[in-house]
Every structure is written in C-alpha cells, then in structure tokens.
Symmetry: C2
Subunit: 371 residues, 2 copies
C-alpha cells in the first residue's frame, strides 16, 4: 500500500473517545510500520486535554504519552500557537479533535488552510453557523479548497457508515428524498424502554432515571432531552444533502423538557420533578397504542420540501424504527434509486469504542489521500 | 478538490449495470469538469460488449459512444491487446468491468501490475481461487503492491456499504465475530413471499414462477436456487474478514434444486416439475411456524470458528432477517465493539441503478487516490 513514510499526529482530547482512539491508533501504527511493501511511521507529536498538554519543540514522538501527560504541568497551547506549531512540522500533519469544543471547531478553517488535515467526531464544527460550514469546506481539499482534508464520520451515528453513505449517494447522482431515523442512543433507549413494541414499559421519568444510572445520558439528562444533540446531527445530514440549514435552531425541534421545568436549577431538581409530567407522556403512549403504534423520538430531513424536524412521532409496530433495540441508532435513506424500501444503517451510535472507530477509519482515509 | 486533470476510462460491458454506469459517469464527468477549483476531465477511451468494441488508436474520447458502438463491427480486443492498449495510454487509466466474466477477472493482476486501476461488480474476480485473490491484492496499490487500485463494493449487496464497512471494521482493529444475512435479492423475495412474518404465502414453486415473471431471477432460476451466487458473496466477505477460503465450493452450500431435478434439460422443464417438491417445502414452513419462526435463505461467516455456510435457517419472527421486505438484502456484522446488537446494513442489493452506484462511488474513490 503506497502510504506516506511518516505522518505526524496531534490529538486533542483524551477522555472517553480520545482514550479509545489512542489505543486504536497504537494498534494501527504497529500494523502500518510492519508493512513490508511500504512501511508508514505514525508519530504522535502533540496530545492535549482541557487542562494540560504535551509536545516537544523538535517534533519528536511522544512515545510514552501516558507518563508524559501525567507528569506534565503545561497548560494547553493557545489556538494560534497550536496552529503555528503544527503548520511548521517537517511532514504532513493530521489533527484529531476528540472534543466537542466550539472554539477549536471555529479554528478548523485556519488549520485546513495551513495544510493540516482534520478528523473528528466534533459535531459543533459542522452544525453551528452555515458560515463555519462554508469556511471549512472551501478550505478543505475534499471540499473546494486546496488545504488539508477533513472527515467527520463520527459526528453522526458514531462509527456507523452514515455520512460516507450519504456522500456516496449524493456524489453518484442519486436523488435523496428523505432521511429519517433515531439519532440518539439516549432517546433510543428511553423510548424502546418506555414503550416496547410488545407492550409494557415503565413511567417516562423512571426510564430517564434508569438511563442516567446506566450511563446512557449526559451527566445532566436535560442535555439529551432538549433535542439539541439530535438537531445538530440533522443539521449535518441536511447540509450534506444540499440544504442550506442556517443552524440547529433554525428548524422545529421538540424538547422533552416540560416548560415548567425549564427553570430547574440542577439536573437533580429536574429529575425529582419530572414524575409530575408522567401523565402527559402516558397519554401519548396510549394514543399511539390505540392506533397500533409506538412513540419514538426521531429526526427527519425532507430534501425536496427543504424541511428538517426533530421530535416525537408515532410508528407502526412493524416499522424498522419501532423495532429498534437497546440504545441503537437507525438511519433510513429514501432515495430515487432505492425506491420504496430505504437503504438502512443500524447499530450502536454512541460509546467510546465505536465513536473512536469512526475517527480511526477517517484517519486511515486521510493517510491514503496524503500519500 | 485536488483531482487529476484527466483520467482515461475503459468500460467493458454495456448491459443492465453497464448502461446505468455510463449514465452515472456522464453526470459525474459533467460535474467534475465544472469544478472551478480543479476541473477534471474524464475521457472514455474504450467501450466493449461481448460482441463488439470501440476505441481509437490515438486515445481520443468516445464522445458519441452510443452511435459509435451501434455502427461498429469490430469484435472485442483480445485481452493481451486490451492490456497493451490501456497500458500505453498517455494518462492514468481506470478499467470498469461491468461483466461477470471469469476470463477478464483472471487478467486483473496483469492490468493492476501495469498501473491500471479497476472498479467492478464482478464477483468472479474475488470469489474464485484463493490464488487469484492473492494475485490481485499483491499487485494492487490498496493491497500490498504498487500497481493500480482495485475496488469492488458492488460485488456484495450492490451499492449497499457492505465491503467498505467490513474493511473499516477490520482496518481499525475491531474483531469480527460473525457476519450473517440475506445476500440475494431473489432468495429474499422468494422467502419473504413464501413465508411472510404475518402468515400466508404461496407454494414454493408458485413463488419461484412469480419471481421469474417479475424479472427477479436469472433467465434460468436454477442459477439462483443453487446457492452459488450467495456462496460467492460469502467467500468475498470471509476473505476480507481474514479467512483463507479456497473457493465458493469449499464450504457447505445448500442448493434448493431437488436432486431429482438436477438432470432437467431446461429451466422450463425444471419449473414445470418443481411443484412435485412443494410438500417438502411446506413441511419446512410448518416446522418453523410451530416454533414461532420463519424460514430464510441465509449465509454466514463464523470468523473465530473459521466456518462459512449457506442455506436455509429458521429465524424468530422478531429477528431483523425475518422482517425483511421485498427483495431487500440485509447484512449484520457482529463484532467485539458492537456487542450484542450488530451493525446492520439493509436495502436493495440488486438492480442496475444501485449496482452501478456502487461502481460509480468506487470510481470516485479511485479518482481521489489517483490525484
């Protein structure tokens, strides 16, 4: 495989996804260095968390990053210095942003223009203002620019082939009519438990509590229930399908936080008061049941209608969205070529390992293109 | 997008898939030539069918291939001359093989070594002897060689992201435990009609007749019912997952052609006698029904067990394989990272447009790599 001889890597974020990515990177680096036809050496030259950072002025490899990071007291480089450091590296650089930081996302066009490639699960870069989206892809070599490459498979559905599939459909000239699915592992778990296809299910507030206990929600469950995470993913897909969506708040997004609880001071206060609204949720459930349906929290993009929406909808019990299990995501692409039966991708759409996998496979794509 | 300025294309096969590919190519060529940042000019320099062929010794573009092909009386170039013609083209060449021809497949290593890239839905190249598989990928730049690139997404599941997904899983270090699914549009249609989840369904022989009338089978339905098509696809997936499968006949493949009918002289004779065996099929159906299950024709790869098999199996009615519709394919990847709930890809796995789409998206990937 004609891969580049040496590629420098800078990793920001060493939390859940970051740690898994570093482990996958290590395995990949070993494999690539042993390719007898064309060995490639991957060299980690910077690693930073929100609190500290390690790198060497002479760009030598961080071979023992765990201990070096532990021993470090250096705060993260300010962004302009980070850009300069990477821009002057003596070989190609890939920046792996494993954060969900808006400030770093805002700097993507600058990195790209300097020839630095980026792989990331950071949704904010692609779902904030349309201007940022435009600036990123007019700088990127896989947009209309001549800078670095950028890939972000894990920004929707983690490692599931969602973005690559949509890009393939669009690039080969298919007409995407509708994209619909369950885009949040938390929402999937909540509604699959709240109203299973075969009946049963608990009170909504109890399911939220269980989901939090199982680690399926953000530390404050309101960050899932407000629908913004799903709205960001839909923004990305809609833009890839050709719609000029201004921001994730420029279309209807249903929040599952009752108005009366918007002013709660803490997640705990919110959770303790949520049972007051169980009757409302039960009513929705019963209405759906009467029609032989179940309630699910979905997002959809109507491409010809130029409409994006996020919220609760009812689905026939035989519908693939109704039959989803656990915290799985499902994404259905309805297109001209695929006709009535959509192209469906389904599986775990959250979690460190599968999110990192999307990042690592993007990283491999960049390596190939950087040859 | 930094694509190459000019790329030569040779297309073999202008039947169902070939015609759709040529239409998609035309659309793509127009788009790429209009990219203001870096226009790319795609130039069709050879087009051949099983009966005739067109090309010009000076490599000028076949701008009016429809009329040129119609007017041509030239038989296809013998393979050695085709290789020479393409190898001497004054720019990069991509060969698009839209046939299912074994002889052309056997020549892939030769093309690749000469730097010619290949995109193809031709299953034979990847599912015949292990030696051919080895020769192809030791020549290809995206194998361990330094020749042209080769991609074959459409050799399994047509345009569905099956091969790319499996490659991503393997390359990023996931452990694939099992791959299971319905890999034939014909078999999908037959069994979804023969035993729908909600009961009913006709006699097996009647469903085969209907499938043939709807154009869902090969001209001779025995070419679907013998299971070889599915066995070829499983061979490809098993090899990608790391198993050294010698050939599509080196593992158990259940044929749905009753022994007594193997000697039928024609497809018509076969179809007229098939009803004699409806009782056997009905018995299978009733047995499954008693267990609350349905019968489906599936293929599976057990990676750690080094086992591949193809044939009838029973599935719970709630299983995604049971719930399949129409002639859709479904492919489930069970891996270490994805845990109990597999990564699933589902949708139309046959048909000119979607097969060509897989070829076209592979073609775009090669264009990027050829920059």
């Amino acid at each position: 495989m004609p891969l580049p001889r040496q590629v420098f890597i800078a990793v920001i974020g060493a939390g859940g996804v970051g740690k898994c990515f570093l482990a996958q990177l290590q395995q990949l680096a070993k494999k690539l260095s042993q390719n007898p036809a064309a060995p490639t050496y991957l060299s980690l030259i910077l690693l930073s968390t929100s609190k500290k950072s390690i790198h060497h002025a002479d760009y030598r490899s961080l071979n023992n990053w765990q201990s070096e990071l532990e021993a470090s007291n250096t705060p993260p480089l300010p962004l302009p210095q980070l850009v300069e450091y990477l821009a002057h590296a003596p070989d190609k650089v890939v920046l792996v942003d494993n954060t969900s930081n808006q400030e770093i996302a805002d700097a993507y066009p600058t990195f790209l223009k300097k020839g630095i490639s980026i792989v990331t699960p950071n949704k904010k870069a692609f779902s904030s203002t349309y201007q940022l989206w435009h600036d990123i892809f007019s700088a990127a070599a896989n947009g209309t620019g001549s800078g670095g490459y950028i890939f972000h498979e894990s920004s929707v559905g983690a490692g599931l082939p969602v973005i690559s599939t949509l890009k393939d459909l669009v690039e080969t000239g298919d007409e995407v009519h509708k994209i619909e699915g369950v885009f949040s592992g938390t929402m999937s778990f909540l509604f699959n438990s709240f109203q299973p296809v075969n009946g049963g299910g608990g009170k909504f507030s109890a399911e939220v509590k269980t989901a939090k206990e199982k680690g399926f929600t953000e530390p404050d469950p309101r960050d899932d229930l407000n629908g913004l995470d799903v709205a960001r993913k839909l923004t990305i897909l809609a833009r890839l399908a050709g719609l000029k969506v201004e921001s994730p708040t420029s279309f209807p997004v249903q929040s599952l936080i009752p108005k009366e609880l918007e002013s709660c001071q803490s997640g705990d206060e919110f959770l303790s008061r949520l049972p007051e609204f169980d009757d409302q949720m039960d009513k929705l459930k019963q209405e759906a049941e009467k029609e032989g349906k179940v309630v699910r929290f979905v997002g959809s993009v109507d491409v010809p209608g130029n409409k994006v929406k996020v919220g609760l909808e009812k689905f026939d019990k035989s519908h693939p969205i109704a039959a989803l299990k656990g915290s799985d995501n499902i994404i259905a692409f309805y297109t001209k070529r695929y006709g009535d039966n959509p192209l469906i991708v389904q599986g775990a759409g959250a979690g460190g390992e599968v999110t990192a996998m999307g990042v690592t496979s993007d990283f491999v794509k960049v390596l190939r293109l950087l040859q």
